[in-house]
Amino acid sequence: MKNLAFRLLFVLLVIQTCAFSQSKGMVYIEGSRYIPLYGRDSTVVEVKDFEIDVYPVTNGEYEKFVLEHPKWQKSKILKLFSDKSYLANWKSDIELKDSENPNSPVTYISWYAAKAYCECQDKRLPTIDEWEYVAMADETTKDARVKPEFNKQILSWYEAPHSNENTIGLHPKNVWGVYDLHGLVWEWTLDFNSVLITGESRKDVDKDSNLFCGSAALNATDLMNYAAFMRYAIRGSLKAKYSMKNLGFRCVKPIKK
């Protein structure tokens, strides 16, 4: 009996340490195989286990970052790594405009800056596959893409203006415990430019004709694809030095085994 209690205690302790090992502000994502809208090579992709930030990086967090790493300040960043609108909503190198909320997601960020931020924390940007994998979950299901309501909600956000001014964490978290993948801002991904969208969508459809049964037609059950289409379109329109009012980021950490 005493032995059993000891074992139980031992098990509890082990679980405790496991839970403790999870990085602060991140949740554990169990990898799997799934079919994204635009597979790069074939249709099924495999995502390995990783941890992801619960929230997008905020203005406040980025303020701390530029204090510690002055080379990413507005006036000091290399022209190669940014365009004119980098941190356009900041009044100085280290301070937000008074109108901005420190708890809103940081935007007007180039891909280089986002990548550097994650690397300084021993993290990296998520790949498209990782991001889409976590983002296809709703509050109760890991793959909610078949639910029309889920897709309608996402689409309706794409039409709502000024959502970047909201603060993080206002929407319910998804089943992984991750907030704001939809409904706040677009997010940078590590390999955002690996999907070739030329901007001529009809042509893009041709290029991926094997994905669409050789024709341009999308059938009515593909509502979810419309939401995803728009994400791929925005990624396709970007260059790494661009920064945009509605584009932020979050980081992930691969699990070392």
Partner: protein, 482 residues
């Protein structure tokens, strides 16, 4: 002899010189691609229903077009909001006017507040994607590309970013005109109209900000079919105007995304139609077909005064979904061309029963009931403008000899239950209102008890009426008593 030689030489030379001057003006180029451009010019862009000044006899130029893409909220109809995506802030987008041989340098600017990348596909462009590929632009950026206008005609432009249908359905289309050498023949008035179909989550008339409904769009089941982006963009104070005797040219496009337009002006015959916006001219046309992603130009002279109604003659779209505009023509009446009404008698071949609109008897109750008197007035006005306005007019003044007034109306104020009953069940036959006899037909109205209560409260509390408040319970009492 030598002198005459010299003289001859001189004449020849000056002749050549003159000729060459002449040449540069009237030279016929083998291909429009060979037309040279001289100097730069900033293009004049106009919002609908207006068009820029005609090109006239100007030479081909390098024409700089700057167009800004704006995603912004607008009003579809009273009380219904919609998030429009626009070229230049309007639906349809700004009108671009060029001539054959122009070299257009196009700057497409995507406003930083926008959520989405966009591009432009111009049907006037000869080149891959009509410019779409070169103009794909992220929010906060600007793309530049240029093209030469090779073919004259009236062309549609639209956004072609994935999902294309959604970008068009949200209003991303407009017209670009390429005039032939020397310009189109002059007319007195020119207007710009574009039809589009809209798909909203809520049914037609449902209040609030209505999101785009992809499923309805796929099914081509439009909630709104409108001219110039909203219900009423060309009616009432926004009506197009002209004077008797003027010639009018309409540039009419159809953005779609789904529906083809049977464009018709009630009470007019088009003297000339540039079929599908091209060179082919048809004469004496009643209704002209405008394909989705196509356009037509029509010319006609207005000979008599009055209000002419522009419709998509797929007629339920006009009277139930919004595809209706007005052209108000001022001037002397011409009784020889049109007599006006000579006699008005009631003709009821099916007996004197009350006429009904075909109906399923299912009236969906309004989702948001009014909470206060102010809201009742607000919602009531919206219903009034959608349902009653056409006959009883904006100030409740009615139309003499046809539709009785609601303003200071003795008939209305005498009996509330009777008024409720008329809205519920319709009314046929002779009545006397403020001393004048009216003998016409009002059909029963497809309104929920809430809506009837609101609209009657609005009517009773406007235009000098008795300030009664009508409640849903009162309406239901009358409804159930029959």
């Amino acid at each position: 002899m030598k002198q005459s030689h010299l003289l001859f030489g001189f004449t020849l030379l000056s002749g050549l010189l003159l000729n060459s001057c002449f040449d540069s003006k009237e030279k016929e180029y083998q291909s429009t691609a060979d037309i040279p451009v001289s100097r730069e010019m900033i293009a004049e862009l106009t919002s609908p229903p207006h068009v820029p000044t005609p090109v006239g006899r100007r030479k081909a130029k390098k024409l700089i077009v700057e167009m800004e893409i704006l995603e912004k909220e607008g009003e579809m109809t009273d009380g219904v909001k919609y998030m429009y995506w626009t070229f230049g802030g309007t639906v349809p987008g700004s009108f671009i006017r060029t001539r054959v041989g122009d070299e257009v340098e196009f700057h497409l600017q995507n406003h930083p507040d926008n959520k989405l990348p966009h591009n432009i596909d111009m049907h006037a462009v000869t080149g891959p994607g009509g410019g779409a590929e070169s103009s794909f632009v992220a929010p906060g950026h600007e793309k530049t590309f240029s093209f030469k206008t090779l073919n004259p005609g009236l062309f549609v432009y639209h956004c072609a970013t994935a999902p294309v249908g959604m970008h068009i359905a949200n209003g991303m289309y407009g017209l670009i005109l390429v005039e032939p050498e020397g310009g189109l023949p002059p007319v007195d008035k020119e207007y710009y109209i574009m039809q589009g179909d809209f798909y909203t989550k809520g049914a037609n008339g449902e209040r609030g900000l209505q999101p785009f409904d992809m499923q309805k769009a796929v099914d081509e089941n439009a909630d709104y079919v409108v001219f110039n982006g909203k219900v009423g963009a060309l009616t009432g104070d926004n009506a197009l105007t002209a004077k008797v005797g003027e010639t009018i040219r309409l540039f009419v496009g159809n953005g779609g995304p789904g529906l083809v337009s049977s464009f018709h002006v009630i009470g007019e015959i088009f003297d000339k139609v540039h079929v599908e916006g091209g060179d082919l001219i048809n004469e004496n046309v009643q209704t002209t077909l405008i394909p989705a992603g196509g356009a037509a130009m029509m010319e006609f002279k207005v000979d008599v005064s009055g209000t002419f109604i522009l419709v998509d003659h797929s007629i339920f779209r006009a009277f139930n979904k919004g595809a209706l505009g007005m052209l108000k023509v001022e001037g002397e009446e011409n009784k020889t061309l049109y007599s006006g009404e000579i006699r008005d008698d009631i003709y009821l071949p099916e007996g004197p029963g009350i006429q009904n609109m075909p109906t399923t008897d299912e009236i969906v109750a309004s989702e948001i009931p009014a909470k206060s008197f102010e809201e009742q007035m607000e919602f009531g006005k919206q219903t009034y403008m959608q349902t009653c306005f056409a006959c009883h007019q904006a100030e409740g003044q009615g139309i003499p000899n046809a539709f009785p007034p609601l303003a200071k109306s003795d008939y209305l104020n005498a009996d509330v239950d009777r008024a409720i009953g008329i809205v519920l069940h319709g009314k046929t036959g002779e009545i006397t209102v403020n001393g004048n006899k009216y003998n016409s037909v009002m059909t029963r109205q497809m309104l929920s008890p809430d809506e009837i209560a609101n609209v009657l409260t609005y009517v009773y509390n406007s235009w000098g009426n008795s300030k009664k408040v009508v409640t849903k319970t009162m309406v239901e009492k009358v409804k159930n008593s029959k």
